[in-house]
Subunit: 228 residues, 4 copies
């Protein structure tokens, strides 16, 4: 079972196996799934993601040596990152679950970048607003209201009213999501961020374990970031 | 006169006034102008740019306080950054100069992000490859060869063979450009980077002044980065 | 009342006013008070302290601008830092409380340094071992054992067996203390570190408030650091 | 031959072998040699040094992994760093060269610390002012004047008038030296800093090679730091 409580809460409870989502995938899916489920955007998607160095694990590589990673930004895994398949799978599933047929496979480009910081992922997602149908002229405020409604009651997803900072999630299990319409181009931008070691890894695993064992989903999970 | 020597070298020499390009604009234009001039891509463009804090200037703001900017990534100026108009102007000019009619205004989304580092800009640019015409099935290698040819002889633009790091330009007047085809989606990705205080500001100003006063364009300009 | 629970626990409980110690002072006093109380060292002391930028507060100054503080180390307040008087007062009090007469005022030099990080203080303290009396030939292991005994039962002071890292205290109310004899010179070195915003500020204030209101002293205080 | 041009310029020129000084040693010796050569201080010395991570070399260790070194300060090599012997040798030699007998071996404590930055060393040196003789009541201004005179004509050592920042030497071959009297304790403090990869390594090697081959000592050496 794909262990994203925000989408499969009920089925995780009875699952035999739960796969904890990747850190990048969590940020991208929580940011874009509502727009696809509600039919707001087309299936052409770009995800430009930025991660702190802890996302690369604790193994010793030249790229994670302090003197190489400090004061540096670069893109990597341009021919395909291992999180891309789960992003595609879940975004297509979200569209289908919302009653929107997948006329062609999701056309997703995902480019991860390494940032000079320890923790944090920020995903900046770009998609064309659907120009057919009722939603074609939605404003930022209206889309934000739809997102708020979509995530109503979620303990660990919050729709924010200004571009979120990874630092706002430092050490917490929160994912912050910020949708905005680029009025010049009628693109929807969704920026989401989280702590890759908490909501993007161990925290989400605890969330899944809580659900699996019938505990309150928030048990033992920090809701407040350490700031600054 | 728009002071981008790589595009207007001859006209800068006789100009009465030269406007030094913005740091983001330099990275974006040097990365995308060849693709537009050669008709490789459509006019739908996304530029996701990442800048060190010195790009915000030396003024004192809470956002540039060390404790706020350290260990943090965020997007800003989502309703339009002041560099966007010059990016659009120059990319449309590049397309026209290449003989490609501008059937509709360039549809460009530009999102700048603040990175926890002092110097450096990395622009990750996304565009659909033109599916009509001779160029429709070009590979990464073929496009890279076209870029190499386009910038042949340029002292301060280099086409690199792996994703460039901002650190590779630290203190130098170089702009590194890396084009790659996302084969899954037939999008062209172009990653370009530079030191925002040199090629993105003072270095480029010296380059323009050199040209303006008839000196060798490279006079006094550092070509090698300080590493690490 | 000077609000250092580790020294004045009982008197804080009934105090009318409690002054929360400075961040530097807490690190220095917790590191050196045992040595003075036990008569291990003379009254000639050097404290070389290193602090993250949050120690300077949230006010906007050029020195705390990201581009100035990043990739930089410097000393400051060389003609006297406001924490020096409380350090002197408390170290002399510790010596007296241990039954050691203050034959001359404590000769303390305190040099604070600004480090390119958000949180954390590390104090490296240097003092000559007392060459008279029973303690004159103590080894590192023996002094460590004395420190362990001195702080036995303290919830927020731990004697560590290798040089401590500020990161080990990130977000926690712990102070880590590491005494070691420099055998070449018969000097005692004591390295102590803490999170300047927790044990060095708000955490210690809560510890004092707990004591003041008769709550368990550890109520609401994080004992575990966020790592990495 | 010990390759510190500031002390052995003439003898380096004819040497068969020149040993390039260590980075810590260069900072400590350039800071303290004048005081010993002029008989200003006793032979009891403490050197508290702070280095960027590049000082540890390019080898992969957990301690130099970005996520460990970032937001962290710690001391290391407390039982003796390999640079200590050359510091002792050269400081004793400076005292002797100044005509001051070495009545007992130099009593030097040297504690290096790792800082979360790529480049830079700052050495904070502490010593008791000699209370006998003509120099016993010198002020900061008088000692600074003596230092200025001592290093007159040196291309790569500058006496500064406020506490120096490692960032002021970034990428340059300069060593900045700042002496100050702690009037409370009559201790002399000398703070010196340099770029450990330039004046502390490759730059100094070039300086020695220039001297060895009879070139101008400053040939090819950057005198200006990259700032910020």
């Amino acid at each position: 079972m794909y262990g994203l409580c925000e989408r499969y809460r009920e089925r995780i409870q009875g699952a035999a196996l739960v796969a904890n989502p990747g850190c990048y995938a969590t940020a991208a899916i929580l940011g874009l799934a509502p727009a696809l489920a509600m039919g707001l955007i087309t299936l052409d998607i770009i995800i430009d993601a930025k991660s702190g160095v802890s996302g690369a694990g604790r193994g010793l590589t030249l790229g994670t040596h302090y003197t190489e990673a400090n004061e540096d930004v670069s893109a990597y895994s341009l021919s395909g990152h291992r999180h891309l398949p789960e992003i595609v799978q879940e975004l297509e599933a979200a569209a289908r679950a919302g009653g929107h047929p997948i006329e062609h496979p999701l056309r997703a480009t995902f480019v991860p970048h390494l940032m000079p910081m320890t923790r944090g992922i920020l995903a900046t997602c770009y998609a064309d607003l659907n120009q057919q149908g009722a939603h074609s002229s939605l404003t930022t405020e209206e889309i934000r209201a739809l997102y708020v409604q979509y995530y109503a009651g979620e303990p660990f997803v919050h729709i924010v009213e200004q571009p979120p900072h990874t630092k706002w999630t430092y050490g917490s299990n929160q994912c912050l999501v910020y949708p905005i319409v680029d009025t010049r181009t009628r693109r929807l931008l969704v920026i989401s961020c989280l702590d890759n070691l908490v909501k993007g890894a161990a925290g989400q695993a605890v969330q899944n374990a809580n659900r699996l064992y019938g505990l309150a989903e928030t048990t033992g999970l920090p809701a407040v970031a350490l700031y600054p």
